[in-house]
């Protein structure tokens, strides 16, 4: 056994060219796969985080009926006593913050240009507890309560050529169909560039009191956005909130970020199905690489195999030499794949990459994910998976060539010239 291993080991180093080809197939194929998995995991978690931090929070409390129509951004399903709900939930330790918000359809007018956007009325003093808009101000400052200023998403500001300190007109729609609206002239207090390009492209933030006045909502809001301390307790918190709300006379619904972002979830699911193909292709490439080079090895060493058989080596032993050989290359290759995957994944995790190098506008067109920077998420599990997969593949891929080797008739093999 030791002997067989020694033979395999030496063969790995003797037939360098072949070893290098196989080694490369495995290390690049699986290395890229590992990087891909890291990126994929990163996109998965970061994209969701970005949506949570800029759009959905963890939970939203909505008036019954709102959720079904949420895409129309309706104003008729309102929460009329948000303060009452807030105080009802005040003692819930799991909740980090609850913010009253009004979502409305709007557009921004600057000179001759008008761009539609989503209006988000926020409580500036509470918003930072629930969202990360405040952290994403790249120019100017965050809103103060009840001032008559706005914050624009960075893409919107760019497209309209607006800067901090400029004035613009905010058209607030009561109803798009009936074209009932109200216009406000407002100064831009700050520009927000969140991690979520969708928000940057089409959102305007205004203080809640201003929106309530402009929309004649009095104290009503369209949603209460809730951030909880520990996302893993989402279900429990939701249940407890629902329990509390049941005591109120009006009907409410509590919606999690996953439900709220279900379109995005669906997108991710489709994408993940597509992306499963990429690792599969990498695996296929690596497998074919090994099968091919090991078959070459069998051809090249036909006479040697004949001689080994003549000397009375058993079929199993001949097979093992080739399997060991494949396994060894596989182990080295997988190790290198882990190094490649580790470095790539680490870079993705630490730095990430942005599509900005394509130019901001193209980047916005091609990026359909709620991420400004594509960040990876490298886990030990990914690397272990890569290593084990590479090793297993290379052993499996050596089986057929090894079988070919023992199928050779020793007499023919010995007569083989070359």
């Amino acid at each position: 056994m030791k002997m067989l291993f020694k033979l395999a080991f030496r063969n790995v180093f003797r037939y360098r060219r072949r070893t290098i080809i196989t080694f490369s197939a495995i290390s690049y194929g699986l290395g890229l796969m590992a990087v891909g998995i890291s990126l994929y995991n990163g996109v998965d978690t970061h994209a969701m985080d970005n949506i949570i931090n800029s759009q959905t929070a963890h939970l939203k409390i909505l008036a019954a009926g709102y959720f079904e129509k949420k895409d129309e951004v309706p104003l008729e399903f309102t929460i009329d006593e948000p303060q009452e709900i807030k105080s009802l939930l005040k003692n819930n330790r799991d909740i980090q913050g609850i913010e009253s918000r009004v979502l409305f359809q709007a557009s921004i007018i600057s000179g001759m240009d008008e761009l539609p956007c989503m209006g988000v009325a926020i409580e500036p003093e509470i918003d930072p507890l629930v969202f990360k808009i405040k952290d994403s101000i790249i120019d100017g400052r965050f809103l103060e309560p009840s001032e008559s200023k706005i914050i624009l998403g960075s893409g919107l500001a760019r497209d309209l050529g607006l800067k901090v300190g400029d004035d613009c007109t905010l058209r607030i729609f009561f109803s798009i169909e009936d074209f009932i609206w109200n216009a406000l002239d407002l100064e831009i207090a700050g520009i927000a560039k969140t991690e979520n390009p969708m928000v940057n492209r089409g959102t305007v933030f205004i203080p809640l009191s201003l929106a309530q006045e402009a929309l004649s909502l009095e104290n009503s809001v369209t949603e209460l956005a809730v951030r909880i301390e520990d996302r893993r307790r989402l279900l429990e918190v939701r249940e407890s909130i629902e329990g509390r709300l049941a005591s109120l006379s009006k009907d409410y619904e509590v919606v999690s970020f996953e439900e709220y972002a279900s379109d995005f979830k669906e997108l991710m699911r489709m994408r993940s199905r597509m992306q499963a193909l990429i690792p599969l292709m990498m695996i296929l490439i690596a497998t074919l690489g090994i099968v091919n080079t090991m078959l070459m090895a069998v051809m090249e060493r036909t006479r040697e195999i004949g001689m080994l058989a003549a000397m009375g080596m058993r079929k199993m032993e001949v097979m093992l030499v080739f399997i060991f050989e494949g396994a060894l290359i596989g182990i080295f290759g997988s190790f290198a794949a882990c190094v490649i995957g580790g470095l790539g994944g680490w870079w993705l995790e630490a730095k990430g990459f942005s599509l900005a190098f394509l130019g901001e506008e193209i980047a916005e067109m091609v990026s359909f994910l709620p991420m400004e920077v594509y960040k990876g998420d490298l886990t030990a599990g990914t690397l272990i998976f890569t290593f084990i997969l590479g090793t297993v593949i290379s052993i499996l891929a050596s089986l057929y060539p090894a079988y070919k080797a023992v199928k050779l008739d020793p007499i023919q093999a010995l007569r083989h010239v070359g």
Partner: protein, 231 residues
């Protein structure tokens, strides 16, 4: 005692639909300690006979005995065991495992045989390599040795497990005549010293002259079988 015996051996190769009779009724017996040459022109069936004697192949008809035991009907896997134990091979070319040193090549059959004591194994290996004159080449790889030296390693490897029978198929065909003679001389010496039975094939008159018995083949039949008496 007879080491090996062929009884009315026929061997037919099938090339597509054509049957090609390579051996047509061969019978002879080999006694222990013989130094026997199978001679004949190319295509006369020498390799085929050695393959049959070496349990690498089975006859189409006839019986083969090794030490009076009928091996004709043994399954292939059993034949491998017979080879492993009883038979040493020296081939024309490409005899050695390229990735192993001289020492390791010679040691190989011992490991296959299941000799577990590495010290003893090395000792035996070194002794036999010294005997074939390669004391200073123990750690060379085949590609670092001349053809003659490689063939000496092959002879040493064939002999190291003290087989009943050493089969050498045209062992000198790829060597120049001086080196070829040296190899034959070496085999002869080992034959006399250890009384191991040697069967080698050749089509070279000069090589034949080393033999103590020559079986001449022509077209798959024995043309003559003569003892040569020397000193």
């Amino acid at each position: 005692m007879s080491i090996a015996k062929l009884e009315n051996i026929h061997k037919v190769y099938h090339i597509g639909k054509i049957d090609f009779p390579a051996l047509r009724g061969i019978s002879f017996s080999i006694e222990e300690g013989e130094f026997l040459s199978i001679a004949g022109p190319s295509g006369s069936g020498k390799t085929t006979i050695l393959n049959l004697l070496g349990c690498l192949d089975k006859p189409s008809q006839g019986k083969i005995f090794l030490e009076e035991k009928d091996i004709t009907a043994l399954p292939t896997s059993k034949l491998a065991d017979v080879r492993r134990k009883n038979i040493g091979f020296v081939f024309q070319t490409f005899n050695l495992i390229p990735v192993l040193t001289a020492m390791e090549n010679v040691e190989f059959p011992l490991i296959l045989e299941g000799q577990h004591d590495p010290k003893e194994r090395r000792q035996v290996t070194e002794d036999i390599l010294t005997e074939v004159g390669l004391k200073d080449f123990l750690h060379r790889r085949p590609n670092e040795m001349s053809g003659g030296q490689q063939q000496r390693v092959a002879v040493a490897r064939a002999l190291v497990k003290k087989p009943k029978l050493v089969l050498a198929d045209e062992p000198t065909a790829n060597l120049d005549s001086v080196t070829g003679e040296e190899i034959l001389q070496l085999m002869l010496e080992l034959n006399q010293k250890t009384s191991t039975t040697f069967v080698f094939s050749t089509h070279d008159k000069m090589v034949m002259d080393f033999a103590r018995r020559i079986i001449r083949l022509r077209d798959g039949k024995i043309e003559s079988d003569q003892k040569v008496n020397k000193k």
